[in-house]
Symmetry: C2
Subunit: 467 residues, 2 copies
Amino acid sequence: VARGDEGRSPRALTAELAAIVGTDHVLTDPDLVAGYVVDWTGRFRGHTPAVVRPKDAPEVAAVLAWCRQEGVALVPQGGNTGLVGGGVPLAGEVVLSLRRLDAVAVDQIAGQATAHAGVTIGALQRAASDGGWSYPVDLGSRDSATVGGTVATNAGGLRVLRYGPTRAQLLGVEAVLGTGATISHLGGLQKDNTGYDLAGLLCGSEGTLGIVTAARVRLVPPPRDVAVALLAFDGAADSVAGALALRRTLPALSAAELMLGDGMTLVCEVTGVAPPFAGSGRPLRSAAYVLVEAEADEDAAGALGDAVAQLPGVRDVAVATDPRRATELWRYREAHTQAINSLGAPHKLDVTLPAAQLAPFVDEVPAVVARAAPDATTWLFGHIADGNVHVNITGVAPGDLRVDDAVFRFVAELGGSISAEHGIGTAKRPWLHLNRSQGELDTFRRLKAALDPDGVLNPGVLLPPLR
Amino acid sequence: VARGDEGRSPRALTAELAAIVGTDHVLTDPDLVAGYVVDWTGRFRGHTPAVVRPKDAPEVAAVLAWCRQEGVALVPQGGNTGLVGGGVPLAGEVVLSLRRLDAVAVDQIAGQATAHAGVTIGALQRAASDGGWSYPVDLGSRDSATVGGTVATNAGGLRVLRYGPTRAQLLGVEAVLGTGATISHLGGLQKDNTGYDLAGLLCGSEGTLGIVTAARVRLVPPPRDVAVALLAFDGAADSVAGALALRRTLPALSAAELMLGDGMTLVCEVTGVAPPFAGSGRPLRSAAYVLVEAEADEDAAGALGDAVAQLPGVRDVAVATDPRRATELWRYREAHTQAINSLGAPHKLDVTLPAAQLAPFVDEVPAVVARAAPDATTWLFGHIADGNVHVNITGVAPGDLRVDDAVFRFVAELGGSISAEHGIGTAKRPWLHLNRSQGELDTFRRLKAALDPDGVLNPGVLLPPLR
């Protein structure tokens, strides 16, 4: 196992790395390093002897070769927007920042882009849009999160329902593996059965097998018409059944976001926005809401309206007839994060349930949390048609992991996943065994040993220590 | 490297395998074995000491454990519909037939199915349809090709353009790896970032890393309305430009199949069908044709017609207004295989080109073939909007690989892939280096050594021998 910085003269280390990337691109000044050693939530804080900022794949390969030779561990870092501590040097690793690899090129004929690791998702989206196409992965951190980071974590986001996660966009990568090999497969062929899917394997491997330096991604035609509606239901069962039915009856469905009555009330209190359906003569608060969005060539609102009219259990409907109203409806969902944070830093758990277990989970998880921490409050929302629920818990000390443990065990009992889209990082390693058998963990370790034989790539991430 | 049957008493081998799967399921009689040792085209013919037919994953694991202990190589086989010799025991391997693993279950709520390896694609499609859903992978061999085989080869087929290849449908697998581990991840979670994507890695690995015993796949809503049109163009450049433009302007596009004038004439001669656009007053034969299909919630023909009306270079259009006419139009494309086979067994090459190189390839490849074999005739058709061209060559002896070599080298020069959807098998191993660097091949070998440390799984397939 590679070590961090202990046992090596910082000056010698800096000089040797500077010989590869240039003096200006080895940061050791605490002020300059500060932003690289802590995640944006402040939960994960580490330290590093140096932040190295290579400019291209050959420099990445040279830094990695040096690390292997010296037995120094490194942590690749993109936009540092992760939520599970996977990009922070918690054990004193060298930080390899990929942000200088920021070139992007759109192939308008093919409807594809080659984006280097440091390109932000926002910049990729803008380049795609300038070329008449759309990059379908979208997430709140779009202007910080990078292509490299989203490939390494198989980022999901707001439009997985229609377009799939990052892995579904990936036609190939350029990467430097832990073996030292630089592989490059950026030709953008849509069908290419010539061996193992290395791009797919690296995607979601959280920087433990190789360092992705560029990606070839598919683009999609921008939607011509988008419609948004907010539906109210009497409970989780009806709302989940409604969202799942829309997946079948409305192929144009691009989002289905669950909210609950408590969360909606909190959002309205914190933001000062009027509750939905105010003035409709109905009770102001419903037990559950689903925000739905559809994309179509034309008349998305008509298709959405027709599909919603067929749904049983819908108590109230608001259809946005213009973009301003659509933004207002989305705001109920998007303000959940801010509203919950106003109560103190929550435990943020991101889980998936099998379709049939979604409603029971939503109904029962507050009691599971309460048994573990009687003073805690549970807030639920998420991408419900994907099975993805964001479980936020307030009223618990940040370091008290009993609620996390209780929720993860409940999720696993129901056949769900402890990480829908955030990855495992360092934060969820203790619970990975709930989802993965000894045979799977052993297989992961064999793959790790095959592609990172010196164990220098993110050694503290994903794989639990052998017991 | 594991050996085939040499050096072992056939009787002892049979008895030991029968102890695992039962006497009835170890086939050694030449009449019974005959169908397992040759592919359907007759090009690949091998021999085997025994065909073993396990009934479930534990029996597969026991057979594999025995093979590892005895150093006996095995070839997993599904429907035996491959085109590259990947499922035939060319070096006397034991054949492991997965066809008895034929259970399939549809989860109507989730819109998913769990299909065991031996289920045919046709059976999976029917089960999906009975449940109100559709399995989007479709191919001509649907009633023979199996789930296990299509996962192992990442099969593509007729609807990749809209739904992606097999890998895009895959939510998880059950598999017995070459290490002996049985892994199972069939929960059907749509978002699940808990470690490396083992299902995606096994998909397309052609039975060299593990034996897939079951798959969890997504289903899609069946299309409500389908429209088909045949477009005529003056040449490859216009037809390719038209197909690529439709990808952007018609998101509902589900197929775009290229045909050329020579092929169309041959089809009409062989089948006795009238040429398209006969009686329109235009010349009977165009240089190129594209058959297009669109799927929509409603009025697919309208959407298709509108998009086609915007295309430059369209010389003639026939829109099918009923299913019978749609079938007639599809027949021009589907009869290509039969028509070409009537001239003698062709060399069938399946390649992908980058979008910008498609038209030059179509225009120039006949001359490339003619230089390698002056008496040869080249026939081109395929899934043009995917970049996928089927190159059929007649007038060349089956064993004369000079035309294959010339075409593959030309494809690689243009940045294309020597295998779009058929895989590498044994047939394309000599050319894999045209598409994959030494670093990539070395990485493949490391993955093979990690997951099949005894080298018993399909040792003659995919990876070229080390030089």
